[in-house]
Subunit: 420 residues, 2 copies
Amino acid sequence: MVKIESANIEAFNRIQAAQPVIIGIGTALDVVPGMQKNMILHAGPPIKWNRMSGPLRGAIIGALIYEGIVKDPTEAEKIAASGDIKFEPWHEHSGVGPMAGVATAKMPVWIVENKTHGNRSYCTLNEGLGKVLRFGAFSAEVIDRLHWMEKVLAPVLKEALSKRSEINLKSLIAQALQMGDEVHNRNRAGTSLLFRELASHILDTNFSNSDKKKVLEFIHSNDHFFLNLSMPASKAILASAEWISGSTIVTTMSRNGTDFGIRISGLKDRWFTGPAQMVKGLLFPGFTEEDANPDIGDSAITETCGLGAFSMASAPAIVKFVGGKASDSINYTQKMYEITEGESEHFQIPTLDFRGSPTAINLLKVCETGILPQINTGIAHKNPGIGQVGAGLVNPPMKCFEDALEAFVEAYCPEKYLAQ
Amino acid sequence: MVKIESANIEAFNRIQAAQPVIIGIGTALDVVPGMQKNMILHAGPPIKWNRMSGPLRGAIIGALIYEGIVKDPTEAEKIAASGDIKFEPWHEHSGVGPMAGVATAKMPVWIVENKTHGNRSYCTLNEGLGKVLRFGAFSAEVIDRLHWMEKVLAPVLKEALSKRSEINLKSLIAQALQMGDEVHNRNRAGTSLLFRELASHILDTNFSNSDKKKVLEFIHSNDHFFLNLSMPASKAILASAEWISGSTIVTTMSRNGTDFGIRISGLKDRWFTGPAQMVKGLLFPGFTEEDANPDIGDSAITETCGLGAFSMASAPAIVKFVGGKASDSINYTQKMYEITEGESEHFQIPTLDFRGSPTAINLLKVCETGILPQINTGIAHKNPGIGQVGAGLVNPPMKCFEDALEAFVEAYCPEKYLAQ
């Protein structure tokens, strides 16, 4: 066990030391490693078109229209099924995507760098709420917004970022936790602090006053804007703890709407999957549980990093969005200390007298205690083209962890494995 | 007792129904009722120059220089002592001022209107931290900043406000309470939300890009900017409950650095005073308790309105500024339910499962229980010209409440009073 312990300490220390900062904004094809023109990145573990859920299919239809590869949904479904488009997980390209998490070559992405370890991560820019691509909507307003984001939002923000010092995301997240966010389903403080950091530099750009104003209004109108930065920040932190020989720390938890997948530091890039679960929570008026798709998105990277539901004690007001009582939010956080390696030095929870958030999920502790990681999340409609229908709480299937443990034993203790 | 009960219900209902919104910005001489050219408004109950504390004297020196009435501090002290300048409490002019709370004729002020009852309130714009007039500093940088605020900040904000719908402060404060503020000594969320509301409208003004940028940077640099709106919002709410015959609700708690004064709804504009207490808390590096001035400022209007220390359970992170443990913040709020009439419908405390903040201090309950209202506050240096030296917690002297109770009995139950 000594090797596992020291490997996990190494993983934990790397997570603790990581310092993700915003480097800038680039086009996916130019900056995302391995990105190709005929490739679509998506949330969760690898999946083929024929097994994809409705919202992921919807987002891919929208992405193909946005990219100009097809003219309409029928043509999109045809080419998507043809094998001419490569579908690959964001996580295999150093990135993350919320909900369907779909990204194409032309899309602008945030570039985040972990200054301590030098690795980079990527994520698209958040589109807002309602009818948006990440929830599987693909109507003209969705596509028009994506074009505006490419032509105006991203260039303005890119120039604004070039006018100032790098924005430290670990610091911004730490502050947001003091202001009622858990930076997964509540990002109001993070968005506000980012807005403050960017506003005067947006004025410094050479764009028209009208474009600058539209950019400010767009960010102001969307309290989830910061999610697409808390996610790549979490990814940049955790990527530094990937692939440490002997470590049982969970470095990825992710869902594609059909499967839930995890990856373990000491088991490199192997995925361990099980069926994505149904989310229990609050549905928007007019929708029922029948409308809901199973759990989807890479946003559980926040929980993997000790944020999201792991830091829900920081965000009692979130229960108005995901259901439950404020005291539940404290209970969720308390429970997560039982399956994690330690406590964050940077992410502190005020209501727990500034105790550090539960950090670095240990596969062994999950299997020993039977306590599954807690996740809070948005709920997408199960059919393509509709969008978000609610938000709530969910867990991974235990199967992911059982399979990962078996693989770990096989890889590291072959004698013990064969003796079983 | 029936008359007191019904009068207090009336006062409570008025507080509950009040809706303070930002109307705009004006010059004190033009908009503050009764303001005169040779008048200086200050925090707390009435006080003469010879009894004023160091920080109040310092702020008055600075104000006289700013106003162009004198050239230097020596001349300022001379004219201040001469009787040629009228000193009157902000509270007797429908306004409030943080710390020394000094305002002169030329100064720009926020204009807040209670849309439900039609009354207005006023407050200067917040100067920031460090060497500032409200903490008694009066060096050239302080005066220059005040001139910039008059010539650039206020006109830009005034025009920006004219470009948009009125900003509802009750709603903004309610949101800030979900984001870790108690809007007295923690205003980071309120400032952030206000910044978001104003930014795109600042772009709409006819000022130079450089002026717009400086205004955004000024607000961004000062997490207390919203204090000078939470205070007049509280004042506009409470003023609607002033002067209700038979009511024992406290409508004012206020300090001038020498005396602590309260006013009671049923006792009209009479002040009941006692000695301002020393604040217990955290002093900035390099200062000791010897440096501290007694309690000063109108900012206890927030506590009078159920905010500030009364809502500290919303703001556990504030203990890093005022001292104590996060759990203390919950205890302060819990205790205040014992001396208040009811719970706010609008101001909800997430960690108490959205219980309304303790609202409408009842003089009778304070006297019956012996529990004094809790206040958190900044600490000014006792000498003029220095500034803030810390922050902490303080109570009013019980004498104010004892005197007020005696006056109440005298006014409303003369037989009982004479029989004593």
